[in-house]
Amino acid sequence: MSWQISSTSVSQFADQLAEASGVDINVCYQCKKCASGCPIAYAVDYTPVQLLHAARLGLKDLVLSSKAIWLCLACETCVARCPQEVDIVKVMDALRAMALQAGVKPQVPEVASFYRASLRNIRVFGRMYELGLIGQLKLATRELDKDVRLGLEMFKKRKLKMLPDFASLGKASGIFSRARKLERR
């Protein structure tokens, strides 16, 4: 009997992840450089190195229902320092998309709401309309009193605009619909 040793096919989930993200996590040799430099390591349930390990073992449920995939700030520190060049930010992007597709409830719902509200905002206005975004976010998270004082002060300093920028109104909607159509295929 012969054994074939290859870096791929450690688990089906790792394969799915490679397919979705374009990143082969099997090359990770667990040096923990990612976890050491991660600014939110203190706040997550699993550090990047742990999450990668779990994904390689095929622990799909654990990974997709983790807080870590939603708390990643995409600061790229881990990507810059990984000796094996594992693009962890891309992995996180793919994991969030997989979680949503699989119907797993986001463990940090306000961050998921922020993503949704931002996308809608850009699709409609072409550019970010902060006041609209804040409004949508408040409705989604029901945290109506959050940052009200700061918001008012920013308004007074004219750091927040009353009205959206109309120069690119609707300019992104075509890009959105063509991208969606392509990804549904």
Binding site: L73, E76, V111, Y115, T141, D165, F176, E183
Partner: protein, 296 residues
Amino acid sequence: MRYGYYPGCSLHSTAREYDASLRAVCRRLDIELAEITGWVCCGSSATHAASKHLGVALPLHNLAEAERQGLGEVLVPCAACYSRFKLAWHEVERQPALRGEVEAILEHQFREEIGIVHPLEVLDSSSVRRQLASLGEGNLSGLKVVCYYGCLLSRPPKVTRFDSGEYPQSMDRMLGLLGASVLDWGYRTDCCGASFSLTRTDIVRRLSHDILEGAREVGADAIVVACPLCHLNLDARQRDIEKEYGVRYNLPIYYFTQLLGYAIGVPSQDLMLERHFVDPRGLLEKVGPLWSPSVR
């Protein structure tokens, strides 16, 4: 010199002072900025998390517009936009299939690579450094600052190829040339919490606190930034951070373009210093008077 200019959403709202001071500095240095018409949001922190194609197509729409408008290299002052633009181009450059798909989405075929530059890269060139020296050498003396580059200018280094990944120094060099005492410190590329500014403010306060604390430890009078999200988190949230941690920093947060402008005689109304939460005017007045509109 002429650049296509992509201000991005923040420079039209929360960071208008960055936009105004950058434009004024460029005018003074004879650098022409031609704003891309019909630009859209680059999607920054949200879109790449939701859709691979959208995350690449949104920033590249702006490069496509720049190419259609014949603008050449594109200047991107927001670090988050800059990183997004660079990442998007990096992706299509390496994946011809993706490039084809994105070009179909954008209904545009790129003829050539379009340069993406940050103002720090443009202003750190030897010819501009000579100009700066002749206009404002020594004018910032007496000012003790630390330079905060944040995450996204220098990372990932293979993609942005900005300065150095872990220890960038272009801003330090520039302000040092103008006479400021630029202090060394350990937080130049740490993360401020960036996009969690509206959601997990607890994380933003903690990370930004560490940065403010780092600046205070080395004895800085102010922090200089090159990103609108860094500015927002360090300036607008500074009072809340002080309250939570029981400390008092009162550290002004400048955009590097404001200090540059001040040093080379840009009138104060173009610096918009009054828009900051921690008033940065007093510290500058200690160094010398702000230029009044009548100076030019």
